[in-house]
């Protein structure tokens, strides 16, 4: 390890982000094939029929502009499309349409924290391109299968500067990029569907000069980004330490074995014969168009983080809410908190409930929970405020309500039936208090001689006897009154 610490790893990441447009980048076919049979979301353009011409989907431009703003930069007002040529059965036209010379985004940056330290990674460029179809190669047969449903899906390829130096930084960058793209509404971002795919370029060096890099492609989780980078750093150091040279190559990630393997050695640069696509006029964006998009942008990631911070939540809670808001988007956790805050209800209390009860429960049930959260939390907060609920029972009530298919019409009545409401009728509590005081003369003596701790014990006894329904503060008041007013005890 001491030997290895002399090496400086350098990491750059290319990320393919699927843009969540309704139709494909250059055709009217649907961009959502999750529930479609193979080769059904394919029209004459995606199929590469003779005479078929691509026409740019302007929705993809809007999303790319949002991505630029999320990356803290402005989109290029002039960009062009190029053809990148290679033959493969899942590439119907024999070329991929991409932006080579004039990408829509040049520059930008991503900021994030690693172990409490702020890190900024520059963005080299980001360009719009059409995805290819999907090939599968079944074992034991002499054919391969091609599904063109994905062909023509709009992608934004975001290329970072090689400015990361550890697996932890690579993972944190990948995650922050994901959050930025999700909050900007650029992508559905479902990683296991390949909505975001990461290619990590890793090299190591001990003399300050960049080493030969490997590129590990198609990582679709933050963990695999971290593990692949970790593995590559270790592997490359071993290669160098054993006197060999690191090969410039494309590698793949074997998740089951947690290691990378050689896919293709790049001896020569591939010749893709890039040329401007004559079917697509250059894209010129109007400044007003960009401003309109900026105005209509959904609340950004940093907006929400600041909001939650203002409510007094800690970093840990904030990040749980930020992620859960994406994972269970129907729950609308953040707008729920915002709504309560604007109504003057204790939003921090709500946020605590969400972090401690709702989100763990949502994870457990994969999000299948009662969706009337606004009602649930409004009523529970009110019952709590009115001292009808104890803090413990409020958690229990929330847990129960979230799991009901239909909410009861009268939640207060429901809580009462379930024995969750606390007793605030002083007559009833007084009766119980008197019983308890009678049965615990020792504790009464202790209190009288200044041993205040014993009050807690007595309250506990009252709570027990009332099956948790007695309001604890009221109980305390009554006990104190009894002990000062009535010398019998």
């Amino acid at each position: 390890m001491r030997e290895n610490s002399r090496y400086l790893p350098t990491i750059g990441i290319e990320c393919h982000v699927q843009l969540k447009t309704v139709s494909k980048l250059f055709s009217g076919a649907s961009n959502d094939s999750r529930d479609s049979k193979p080769n059904t979301n394919v029209n004459h353009i995606d199929f590469g029929l003779p005479g078929a011409l691509p026409v740019l989907n302007t929705e993809a431009l809007t999303l790319a502009v949002r991505a630029a703003l999320a990356l803290k930069t402005k989109p290029q007002l002039f960009s062009t499309f190029d053809r990148k040529h290679y033959f493969y059965p899942d590439l119907p036209m024999g070329y991929q349409i991409t932006q080579y010379d004039n990408p829509i985004i040049k520059g930008g940056s991503v900021e994030f924290y690693v172990d409490g330290e702020k890190k900024t990674v520059g963005i080299t460029r980001a360009h719009i391109e059409a995805d290819a179809g999907k090939s599968t190669h079944p074992e034991g047969v002499n054919f391969s299968l091609v599904d063109l449903n994905r062909a023509g899906t709009p992608l934004l390829e975001i290329v970072s500067e090689p400015e990361m130096h550890s697996a932890a930084e690579a993972k944190a960058y990948a995650k922050e990029l994901y959050l930025l793209m999700r909050y900007a509404g650029v992508t559905e971002g479902i990683l296991y569907h390949g909505n975001m795919r990461f290619d990590v370029n890793v090299s190591v060096s001990k003399d300050g000069q960049l080493g030969t890099r490997s590129e590990t492609k198609n990582l679709n989780s933050f963990r695999s980004v971290e593990k692949a980078v970790e593995y590559e750093i270790k592997r490359q150091i071993e290669v160098i330490e054993s006197g060999n040279k690191v090969a410039q190559e494309t590698r793949g990630w074997l998740d089951a074995k947690q290691r990378t393997i050689t896919q293709r050695v790049k001896e020569n640069a591939d010749d893709y014969r890039y040329m401007p696509d004559p079917d697509l006029p250059p894209v010129t964006l109007d400044v007003r168009f960009v401003n309109e998009i900026e105005k209509s942008m959904p609340n950004t990631l940093s907006f929400w983080r600041n909001e939650l911070k203002r409510l007094g939540l800690n970093e840990h809670q904030i990040e749980i809410l930020i992620e859960a808001n994406l994972d269970f988007n129907e729950a609308n956790y953040l707008s729920l908190i915002q709504d309560f805050d604007s109504k003057g209800i204790d939003a921090r209390q709500i946020a605590n409930w969400l972090v401690n009860i709702d989100i763990p429960l949502a994870k457990e049930t994969e999000g299948v929970l009662n969706s009337n959260r606004a009602i649930i939390y409004t009523v529970v907060a009110q019952l709590l405020r009115e001292s009808k609920l104890s803090s413990t029972n409020s958690k229990e009530l929330i847990t129960q309500l979230l799991q009901l298919e239909n909410l009861p019409e009268d939640i207060g009545k429901y809580a009462e039936d379930k024995g969750l409401l606390q007793q605030s009728d002083s007559n009833q509590i007084e009766t119980i208090v008197d019983e308890v005081l009678k049965e615990n003369p020792k504790a009464v003596e202790d209190i009288k001689s200044g041993e205040q701790k014993a009050i807690g014990f007595l309250i506990g006894q009252v709570m027990q006897r009332s099956k948790g329904q007695a309001n604890p503060s009221l109980t305390k008041q009554i006990i104190e009154n009894r002990l000062t007013k009535n010398s019998n005890f």
């Binding site: 004459h44 003779p50 078929a52 091609v146 014969r273 040329m275 079917d279």
Partner: protein, 475 residues
């Protein structure tokens, strides 16, 4: 040659019941049949054409609304996709291909009542100037069966000259409408780039390809262009049509400024063609036009520039013919690589392969800057020279071709000789300006000669007006 009556007159007769659409289609089909020895046609659409004609006739009987081309038969070059009709681009690799959609222009023509009766021969994928590069057969010149009709729209031009239909559609990437129109003595127009949608037309050089009509007279072309032109959401390079449409009236030549292209009247041009051009220019002067000589120095490089840019785009556009989804496919291949090599090796003809190789070369890394990029620079320079020239004159004129129709086999062994047939036509494609070939008499051997007129971009209407006016002078 056997000419059809003007389209306007034919449509009027169809509408008032003097003649039926079925009559017109039958007349067209019988002309195709009786002239089959010229081999202008690859396939006929007899059944669907007669069915459409019957529908139009019935609609007229019922007093229904019919379009401006009601019952007019036409012939499409076989690189236009027509729904349900075999479309081959005269190539073996697409033999038997039945398209599941059709070209925007076919839709627009059909909406106005025109009826596609046949698909015309061409040089495979439109690569050529004689139809000798057709993978199927060579079309013969209507004026001399031992000669070529020009190309690549040779089948379309010969068909109109032979009276097979009132109009035919062609594509013009480097002269493929104008040169065969000149060789066959008919009127052919290459509109401004983008004026007519390319959607559903098999691409050759996408930044150069233009679709246009071939007709017996200018007026017919105006009607066809008016129907076909304008924005199309399926082609991002289309432009809006002229607000006034394209049905123009004759103009006075008095004060019209006409530039004669100096570079087109030099070496290598047949004296008969020079003479015919000069006498046309004299005619124009007599009619009051202000004629002056105009020099466009970069024209010298236009052909070289064209034969870099066009093959580059061809090599890219032909990538999709890989035997994986449609068209010819070598099924005996043992590997994916062999499947590509065998399919493309057997499916493409010599000229397609030649252009793929040239195009692949000029786009390769290390050669891109020396060839493709330089050619694009020359193209820009040429555009600027044309813009300058059009600041000075309203139109540019000259011959269409350096020679009249050449003998079959005379040039097919030497690709460079063949490429020279495009020397006067490629500039309009590189610059995107509209250009026409107007019949301009005959040579001593009774071969047609063409007269070329070019106008600034989007001045298609003015161009047609001038062409119609010149046409009326010669009548």
């Amino acid at each position: 040659m056997d000419q059809w009556e003007p389209i306007k007159q034919l449509v009027k007769s169809v509408k008032n019941g003097k003649v039926s659409a079925v009559n017109l289609v039958e007349r067209s089909l019988s002309k195709i049949e009786s002239n089959s020895e010229y081999k202008a046609i690859i396939s006929t659409l007899k059944q669907s054409a007669l069915k459409r004609a019957t529908e139009i006739d019935e609609s007229i009987k019922k007093g229904g609304k019919v379009g401006v081309l009601a019952g007019i038969p036409f012939i499409a070059k076989d690189n236009f996709l027509v729904f349900g009709a075999e479309t081959t681009a005269a190539s073996n690799i697409l033999k038997g291909f039945i398209p599941p959609y059709q070209a925007t222009v076919i839709n627009r023509l059909e909406e106005q009542g025109a009826i596609c009766v046949a698909k015309a021969n061409l040089d495979a994928f439109a690569h050529g100037a004689s139809t000798e590069n057709s993978d199927f057969f060579i079309t013969k010149n209507p004026y001399d069966k031992t000669r070529v009709p020009g190309g690549s729209s040779g089948g379309s031009a010969a068909a109109v000259a032979l009276g097979m239909a009132p109009f035919a559609l062609g594509t013009d990437t480097g002269g493929s409408i104008r040169q065969p129109s000149a060789f066959c003595g008919v009127f052919g127009m290459k509109p401004t780039y983008g004026l007519v949608s390319r959607s559903g037309v098999i691409a050759m050089g996408s930044s150069l390809d233009c679709i246009g009509p071939i007709t017996s007279r200018v007026e017919d072309a105006e009607i066809i262009l008016d129907v076909m032109s304008g924005l199309d959401e399926l082609d991002a390079t289309t432009i809006a049509k002229d607000n006034l449409g394209y049905g123009s009236s004759l103009i006075s030549l008095k004060g019209t400024k006409i530039g004669v292209i100096k570079e087109y009247l030099g070496e290598g041009v047949d004296s008969e063609i020079l003479d015919a051009t000069q006498s046309k220019i004299i005619e124009l002067k007599k009619a009051g036009a202000e004629v002056k000589e105009v020099s466009l120095p970069s024209l010298e490089y236009a052909l070289a520039c064209y034969y870099i840019i066009c093959p580059a785009e061809v090599s890219s556009n032909l990538s999709r013919y890989d035997g994986q989804r449609y068209g010819y496919s070598d099924r005996s291949a043992e590997s994916l690589f062999d499947s590509y090599v065998n399919t493309r090796g057997k499916g493409f003809g010599t000229e397609a392969k030649r252009r793929i190789i040239i195009g692949t070369f000029v786009l390769s890394s290390g050669y891109y800057d020396a060839y493709y990029k330089k050619a694009m620079t020359v193209r820009t320079k040429l555009i600027n020279e044309f813009n300058d020239a059009f600041n000075d004159v309203d139109f540019l004129v000259g011959p269409v071709t350096p020679t009249t129709a050449f003998k079959i086999g005379e040039r097919s062994q030497n690709p460079l000789d063949m490429y020279l047939a495009d020397v006067m036509t490629v500039a309009a494609n590189l610059t995107g300006v509209p250009a026409v070939s107007l019949p301009n008499g005959f040579s001593k051997e009774k071969l047609p000669i063409g007269f070329q007129i070019m106008a600034p971009q989007r001045k298609d209407r003015d161009l047609l007006s001038l062409a119609k006016t010149i046409e009326s002078l010669s009548l």
